[in-house]
Subunit: 206 residues, 2 copies
């Protein structure tokens, strides 16, 4: 009989007790994905890191940055760089970003994400306004000159296959929420534009 009483407590649908709304209220900002896309060396990670720092220090926003360092070595370590694997890479990152948005965070992602359709898949996963596509624009020549990780050099020597911009396409965003040309803007100018956009969209409160 005791058993029966205990049991009834368990027989109910599993509604999540804590929803996105209440999480968002706790933090004083809205959740969103800031999706930085662009060529290797365009400055995605640098700008994303600087934006995150500003969001934390000045706005006390709860943020998280997804990039190659924490994704390619973990969740997606089973994936390579074929077109199929790149698509699956972006799909999983999109799904994880969605979970972080549901948890109420501003999540920043810094991946080349070269294919338009893959980025659209992520956009479609999220509610309207939650996906902020930020095109980190920079001429290929400039990216190759920067070559911060020496990847262009390796690709030119044939040591890396399917390298975006050289022998694998980068499909530029057609209507990104923001475009940042890092060949003319400083990092802080990029940060200011992103912050201003977030304020304009009331993702961030002034």
């Amino acid at each position: 009989m005791v058993l029966m009483i205990v049991m009834t407590k368990y027989i109910r649908p599993h509604q999540h007790s804590t929803d996105r709304q209440s999480r968002s209220e706790l933090k004083g900002h809205h959740a969103a994905v800031l999706w930085f896309t662009g060529l290797s060396g365009s400055g995605k990670s640098t700008v994303a890191n600087a934006v995150e720092k500003e969001l934390n220090q000045k706005y006390h926003a709860h943020t998280y940055l997804l990039d190659g360092d924490n994704i390619r070595t973990g969740l997606n370590k089973d994936l390579g760089f074929s077109a199929e694997d790149r698509t699956e890479n972006i799909r999983r990152i999109g799904e994880v970003a969605k979970l972080f948005v549901d948890a109420g965070l501003i999540v920043l992602t810094a991946f080349i994400s070269p294919f338009r359709e893959d980025r659209k898949t992520v956009r479609d996963l999220l509610e309207a306004g939650d996906f902020v596509e930020i095109f980190v624009q920079c001429p290929l020549e400039v990216c190759e000159q920067r070559d911060p990780k020496g990847l262009y050099q390796k690709a030119r020597l044939g040591e890396i296959q399917n390298f975006t911009g050289l022998n694998s396409p980068y499909e530029e965003p057609e209507s990104p929420e923001l475009t940042l040309d890092t060949s003319v803007l400083t990092v802080m100018e990029c940060v200011e534009r992103v912050i201003q956009y977030l304020k304009d969209q009331t993702i961030l409160r002034d």
Copy 2:
């Protein structure tokens, strides 16, 4: 020349600007994974939901719950229930939980996670003390009697293959951080034990 000046700003290693320590300080609690494991119908989701609610309302903790509802329909929708896919299912959940811990959250997971080795894989991903294995213990007969989703019935009728406890093994934890017998404890008694454990480990401040 201007171009060169801008470029140097980008050429630096991508250290994450915001680390786990500073995130944890922001929130006043430590990050951890509360990994609920047990048979279908044992009460994992019910207890995890109740713990999350308590953590939010009483301790203003920043939490997130990973369960079938948000994982099997999203990140892991490409996976089935073969032994191989179950292992990959748990691996990915472990990697996502690790990201949430890095973001400073207390993440709760509610998955059967029947294989000891898979749970060990997740434990090994995390730093010592960050993985709290909670065995939601309940006799199979009681779980089957509860059958909140009608899954045992379907499995008995042969409509579901590889059903844990019937024709697929459940490997009980050998030394879980906590064991909650839901055939004798009420939901609130389970919650109290989890909260007490978190306080004892100073994951939660009193």
